[in-house]
Amino acid sequence: MIKRIPLAALIGLFFTALYFFAAIFAPLIAPYGMAEVVGDVWEPASAQHWLGTDNIGRDLLTRMIYGGRTTIFIATAATILSFSLGAVLGFTAAVLGGWADQFLSRVVDLVMSIPSLILALVILSVTPVTVPVLVVIMGLLDSTRVFRLARAVAVDINVMDYVEAAKLRGEGRRWIIFREILPNALSPLVAEMGLRFIFMVLFISTLSFLGLGVQPPMADWGGIVKENKDGIVYGIGAALWPAVAIATLAISVNLVADWVLNRTTSLKGGRGG
């Protein structure tokens, strides 16, 4: 089975697994405590501090691992939320049609017409900034995009004869949505999921960089850039490590998504081939 996995997917799987592993077991892996000051300000890389130290002397590798934990957790939770909500609403709109579809679609258009970053900033400035609030806001805002995709895919599937056959059998909406439409809509949704996950990572990083995301002393990748950005002027690259982390995560997650997409479309009974 392993030899069937193409090299690109293997690389993607390896790095994705590495990041998620590091995120889950951060306290066990990290060499120091999360907010522990262990050295001088902006020490260069050494045997004790593989990536050096940050702007107040904390171990940068430790911060990166804990930061990854926060960032990946929030991005994953928000992606799950946006996909469950967006897909279910999108399928429902496609199956119901008529005014329900009109109403949902227009509300989504309305939300999408406002840039999500600005909308998020406005909302976050009047609500307490905690992790659950961040997840909910990001998930809700992003679900509009999932809604659009899910609805478009489901409208196509909804007119297939097998869905008509299910309706003639007297099946309820739940069966039609979850058993007839969902399995056939998975391929495009999975592809979109890889992309949306990365947008979530960027989104939470941007929010933190602007100071409205994850609050100190909790570490997260956007926050690390913010804390260390002044070092760039002095030739200190601490702020670049989160960029490297985000880039490698983005590429590897999408390599995995590509592979999953290829597999599901060529699966037994898959659409196309």
Binding site: E164, K167, L168, R169, G170, S266, L267, G269, G270
Partner: protein, 545 residues
Amino acid sequence: MADNALLDIKNLRIEATVYPPGEDPQDVVIVDDVSLQLEKGKVLGLIGESGAGKSTIGLSSMGYGRGGVRITGGEVILNGTDILTGGVRGLRKVRGKEVCYVAQSAAAAFNPAHKLMDQVIEAAIEHGVASRAEARKRAVTLFGKLGLPDPEHIGQRYPHQVSGGQLQRVMTAMALCSQPDLIVFDEPTTALDVTTQIDVLAAIKEAIRDTGVAALYITHDLAVVAQVSDHIMVLRNGKKVEYGTAEQIINDPHEEYTRALVSVRSIAHEEKKPTETPILSVKHVTASYGGGITVLKDVSVDIHEGQTLAVVGESGSGKSTMARAITGLLPPSEGEITFDGRTLSRRLDQRTKNDLRELQMIYQMADVAMNPRQTVATIIGRPLEFYFGLRGKERDRRIGELLDEIEMGTGFADRYPAELSGGQKQRVCIARALAAKPKLIICDEVTSALDPLVADGILKLLLNLQKIENVAYLFITHDLATVRAIADSIAVMFQGKVVRYGPKSQVLSPPFDDYTDLLLSSVPEMQIGWLEKALANRKMESAGN
């Protein structure tokens, strides 16, 4: 014969790479060691089921292979030169000048953004065969010869402004315009209604005779090919089965397979007497889609228990709309439908579960009638679960029974639809309908997408199941041969109305109304010279003109 042959294909071998799901790519042979020769002015019919390689051979005579297809052996000699060795430049000189192509679906083959005339004369001008004015003149003559209305001006129209039958004739004119030596006709009448097909067939035949062009005529319908061909080659799985004159193939086939093709649709079905009260009664039903177009006008028919009502008509006659009205997918605006003594609600969502169970439906395209992500067991098992609450062993046992009934066996239970052949897919759909233990099954063109021999098997199965389960069929079709084979009573539909209705023996015996006569006389018969006879006896012009 070899010396004056126009087209000489020697030991042609064509391969393609397939990518079976979950397995390594494999090379398959599509055409295996086929040789044929065609003299000037003669017509060779290539016939076979889907996958027989007939279109592939036809295209190879232009040196063309569809995506992924490779010509890996043999020679294609046209007018004395092997066109396979000429490269792209050589092919460009040949295509559109020495050999032209008429595709199955003219509607998809024409560019919708250009006028017909510009497309018809393009090849002739491009190859310098004629000047623009000459080509136009020739096109107008050809339009007239092919029986198109208003030949002077029809070229100024766009493809969507003429009917399907006319478009197919325009395409033939396009092929003839650059005066080629050879035309490849790839199922030119398959997508047309029977009454249109006969006109197009006659036009093609006449044009071939008048211009002296040679032709390869590809079709799956032996009766059609018998009308136009001098010789016929029967193909199966990329190999030659039999080759002979049209007369020999039709009247004295040597091979077993050819005999099967000639005698297809020979099911004999005795008409049953109608029972006292019908199981389904459609009374004065009128239905329309949004926009106020009435597609079904005051239709009344009865179906009796354990019997078959065949609804016949051309595309657009309203026969599928009748099925939608009966199932409740399109609530009728007027009229009443009674089923087993009770009045059915007009709308689908107001019907009881029992109403839904007793009235099942089978679709034309079995591919899209089954969820590609469900196994055969799930597809057949769901009605059992849904209507009868069967679970676990009980359900599996019943699935096994049903699979046996459709002559497939339990080995298929874990397969996905993509792993079944066309005929098997349709059988699974039949099993899904039967699982509900219905009293009536609506069959909407269930055999139209299948090869003749496979369709024959499905019809036999349906008749058999009718005997066992005593289920009634509403059989919608455009194919009169099918109707003869299975119907007890027949309704002929034309422009949304039932124009003739009654027991089979009565509907199919004279005196006929004009439309039924046209319809009946347009069905190709397995007989040389049928076309001329049929045209001579016509009373009514077909709608395609």
